[in-house]
Symmetry: C2
Subunit: 114 residues, 2 copies
């Protein structure tokens, strides 16, 4: 019974985490900011094959609202906007590395099965 309660709490925590990280692109966006540290909108668009302008804009706004990503506007000519991870966003670095490793192994599993 104690054990079941503990599992329930873990499951709720995972559900909370996935609520924020869900969607086809969020983890990929966080990953590119994690790898490059600072990235412009057009660079992220180029990093993620298949994402549209509108989708990226929406996802970035949600990540900003959840305090994972910081948007900085620079007073240049023309104006430059760049994105970085917040300190809180950096707390996902371990997850990103884990997923990259797992994804690479998964690719091997898939290719060896063909």
């Amino acid at each position: 019974m104690m054990e079941a309660k503990c599992h329930k709490r873990d499951l709720m925590a995972i559900h909370d985490a996935m609520d924020i990280l869900n969607g086809k692109w969020k983890i990929s966006i966080l990953s590119t900011l994690c790898y490059y540290e600072e990235r412009r909108f057009s660079e992220i668009l180029n990093d993620l094959t298949g994402i549209s302008n509108k989708q990226l804009s929406k996802e970035l706004k949600e990540l900003e609202l959840n305090k994972l990503v910081k948007r900085t506007v620079l007073d240049t000519q023309p104006v430059t906007v760049h994105y970085t991870l917040t300190e809180y966003g950096w707390s996902l670095q371990g997850l990103i590395n884990y997923l990259a490793d797992w994804g690479k192994k998964h690719r091997e599993v898939i290719f060896s099965a063909v």
Copy 2:
């Protein structure tokens, strides 16, 4: 340039991983099988607040196709079906633990901000 190539490979690997784990429920289903080791359909339905019968059935089928979950039919009266993680599914245990820890911390961050 070498670095950019390496990042691109990591980003592709993450995209591959998320392709399989994406969706509102997949990680939660894998998590409950990770915590309880063996679970019946109705038990999983009960573990995940808000999922419908149809959704759970669809998600389990996809996880089975991707060789992360094993479905076993027992010759009982009435027939019992249970689900377990495959060895490959167990390779996600680290990810699940990471998400549970992060989700708990996230809850604290959210509550402390209110």
